[in-house]
């Protein structure tokens, strides 16, 4: 099954409602915004895949420092190029929605921060993460000494099994102590 033309069938809509955390209005709005990104020829292709560059023109993602990682994580393409079908797009919005659970959000946050896709957050992942958070300009980049001091502190606080990396359960443990995470890990169209 796939999306056709510009109308979303009733059956499809209720199936999406069941499988994601999104409400009916949110799914319809997502469909509208997705089809706006399609060119005229692409509108007739079923299960059409939009390349990453076009997804990143959405205002909600445009200035997010993690935008590329978000597309890569939710993409189901074999080339791992970050392109999204409509169902990938719904997955994305579902994980970032109001009603998604803490477990789902922390799971996806972990995957977004895992820049080398090896299943753990090691020194380089954390370094890239901090640089994304502070911005890439010279004024806001930490010095190498500050960076290593910071990452050593992070590993000391969160690496419970002392293997030098942060795995998913250690990450979720840190997340669970923060009450703001669920409300800040949110993208609404």
């Amino acid at each position: 099954m796939g999306t056709t033309a510009s109308q979303l069938g009733k059956e499809l809509l209720s199936e999406y409602q069941e499988l994601t955390f999104l409400t009916k209005q949110e799914i319809l709005l997502a469909h509208k915004r997705f089809t706006e990104l399609l060119t005229k020829d692409e509108k007739d292709i079923p299960n059409v895949r939009i390349p990453m560059e076009r997804i990143l023109t959405l205002p909600e993602l445009k200035s997010n420092p993690f935008r590329k990682r978000i597309c890569l994580v939710f993409s189901t393409s074999e080339q791992k190029d970050g392109s999204l079908t409509f169902e990938d797009f719904l997955d994305l919005l579902s994980a970032f929605s109001d009603s998604a659970t803490l477990e789902i959000k922390s799971h996806y946050a972990f995957r977004i921060f895992d820049f080398d896709d090896d299943g753990t957050l090691d020194f380089n992942d954390l370094q890239t993460l901090v640089n994304c958070l502070t911005g890439e300009t010279d004024e806001t980049r930490l010095t190498p000494e500050e960076m290593s001091q910071l990452i050593n502190n992070i590993l000391e606080e969160s690496d419970i099994d002392k293997d030098g990396t942060v795995n998913l359960s250690e990450f979720q443990h840190v997340i669970s102590r923060s009450p703001d995470f669920v409300s800040s890990f949110k993208i609404v169209l």
């Binding site: 099954m1 199936e15 999406y16 499988l19 994601t20 955390f21 205002p59 909600e60 445009k62 200035s63 997010n64 420092p65 993690f66 189901t76 079908t85 169902e87 719904l90 997955d91 579902s94 970032f96 659970t101 803490l102 477990e103 789902i104 946050a109 921060f113 954390l126 993460l129 901090v130 958070l133 502070t134 911005g135 806001t140 930490l142 500050e146 001091q149 910071l150 502190n153 992070i154 606080e157 969160s158 990450f171 840190v174 997340i175 669970s176 102590r177 923060s178 009450p179 703001d180 995470f181 800040s184 890990f185 949110k186 993208i187 609404v188």
Partner: protein, 521 residues
């Protein structure tokens, strides 16, 4: 609208505006309380002074509902209805303070829960900030850049504090001795500054009271002299302390807390000194002969309660005028100069930064003045509501037009708690003043609802003695030991139960495991 402030200027500034909004609502409800029980009955029973008894030259305002002196000591007893105005006045004042206490503690409770959930500020700080610090909902390049800058500065500040701590732990013996002696010296220097300011206020108040008969512009200046000196002192002394602070070499977090504590002490002590000098004159410490006739200084103060109320009213008004004047005369021109003449000097000075701690202290000071004066000037909460309302919108205007976002942001949750704490301190000071005036000083004989009693408190025993015997016995029983001790034990048990229940709820919140949903397609 407040979200916009938080997004653009950070959580600290947002917490200031939330605090200000809380105070506006608190003052409004306090005014409704006072109006309902004191002012409206006074109007309804038409029990006010017909004509001015004495002309002390302060104008017609003195003889309106604004001040204590205007209210009568009527005790209406008609048909099936009796209303005792003096008792209402006293009990309304008491309930007003209790009501404010309750609201502040409720507010502290909600902010304390957030602090408890995040486990305090220092534990797991870095990982929390890095893993959960980003707000994915903020759109636009400007908001992103601002958020990145904020995170950068927070990380930098925390890392620097850690380095300073490590460095101070590794000082040599001689260096430690030198540092500690420097700190002690500078501590006494700051105390000296505060002492100078206090003596200045003391002399200004005395001078103002002695020259209260002056007319015209000079007279106006003398009247407002204590307010002027207090405002100037509260402006200069923190600035001087800020200049000294770098030499003390404390970590940045500790420096900020010290600066705040010193500023708070200065504000509250200057208010206390003003009240103390007034009290000395009212109970005539210097010239005991004046007090022998009536128990208070009738020569200088025909109606001392109104006089105290007037001082508080002047302080409130002057505070508002100064705030608006600083806005117009300092902040707007500064922005115009910095924006239109870009050179090295202006870029170094830069746009105004919105100093959250000092602004909040100004609010706490204003509210303490109102609490102290509300007993003597029943319409003061209404005036304060209007004042804070005006202040909210003017501060918002200056924030958006003149200020740049603060680079080193405040920890909003813990600081909200701290500000509510200082507010409690101010409330405590105001209650002390009220209890002292009610219980010990002789009320004026020429004005006010208590003119025929020896002290204001006397109204309560006289009323109780008029009640039926069973009611009296019941009330005495409530106050006796055989009732209060079991009550105390019972309330401790209830408190323990509530605390345990709350802790249980908090722990359960993060343990709940949700059902997972599979991916479609």
């Amino acid at each position: 609208m407040l979200q916009k402030i938080g997004g653009n200027f950070g959580g600290g500034v947002q917490s200031y505006f939330l605090f200000l909004r809380f105070l506006v609502i608190l003052n409004l409800f306090s005014f409704l309380l006072i109006a309902g029980f004191v002012i409206i009955p006074s109007i309804v029973f038409r029990s006010v002074e017909g004509s001015a008894v004495n002309n002390t030259g302060t104008g017609f305002i003195e003889y309106t509902y604004l001040f204590y002196g205007y209210y009568n000591n009527t005790q209406i007893e008609g048909m099936n209805f009796s209303y005792n105005i003096p008792l209402a006045y006293l009990s309304t004042a008491g309930f007003y303070l209790l009501f404010c206490l309750f609201c502040i503690i409720a507010r502290m409770g909600t902010t304390a829960r957030v602090v408890a959930a995040t486990g305090g500020s220092s534990e797991g700080n870095y990982s929390s900030l890095v893993f959960t610090g980003w707000d994915y909902g903020s759109n636009g390049d400007q908001a992103t850049k601002l958020k990145q800058q904020n995170i950068y500065y927070r990380l930098q500040v925390d890392l620097e504090e850690e380095r300073i701590k490590k460095r101070s732990a590794s000082l040599t013996q001689w260096q430690k001795v030198f540092l500690y002696s420097a700190r002690i010296l500078l501590f006494f220097l700051t105390l000296a500054f505060i002492g100078l300011a206090i003596t200045g206020i003391f002399f200004a108040t005395n001078f103002s009271q002695q020259n209260s008969e002056q007319q015209g512009i000079l007279g106006l200046f003398y009247e407002y002299l204590p307010s002027i000196v207090i405002t100037v002192a509260n402006f200069i002394v923190p600035m001087l302390n800020d200049q000294i602070a770098p030499f003390e070499r404390y970590s940045p977090g500790v420096t900020v807390v010290f600066a705040l504590v010193r500023a708070v002490l200065l504000r509250l002590i200057s208010l206390a000194i003003l009240l103390f000098t007034l009290w000395r004159q009212i109970t005539c410490e210097k010239t005991p002969a004046d007090c022998e006739l009536c128990g208070y200084n009738i020569k200088v103060y025909q109606c001392w309660e109104t006089r105290v109320g007037q001082e508080m009213y002047k302080l409130t008004l002057f505070d508002l005028i100064i705030n608006i004047a600083v806005l117009i005369l300092v902040e707007f021109p500064r922005r115009i100069v910095v924006d239109n003449w870009p050179n090295k000097l202006t870029r170094w000075v830069g746009r105004q930064e919105f100093m959250v701690p000092y602004n909040v202290l100004g609010l706490v000071y204003g509210q303490t003045v109102v609490w102290t004066g509300a007993f003597f000037c029943p319409l003061l909460p209404l005036i304060n509501t209007l004042k804070f309302f005006i202040l909210f919108y003017t501060k918002r205007i200056t924030l958006f037009h003149n200020c740049r976002p603060a680079l080193k942001t405040f920890r909003s949750t813990t600081s909200s708690f701290f500000f509510s704490g200082i507010l409690l301190l101010g409330l405590f000071l105001a209650s002390l003043v009220m209890i002292y005036s009610v219980a010990l000083i002789h009320p004026s004989m020429a004005c006010g609802p208590f003119r025929l009693s020896t002290t204001m408190w006397v109204v309560v025993p006289t009323t109780i003695s008029k009640l039926s015997q069973t009611t009296q016995d019941f009330l005495f029983f409530l106050g006796s030991q055989s009732f209060s001790i079991p009550l105390f034990v019972l309330s401790c048990l209830v408190l323990c139960y509530i605390v345990a229940f709350a802790c249980l709820q908090e722990k359960c919140y993060f343990v709940k495991s949700p059902t997972q949903t599979g991916r479609p397609g």
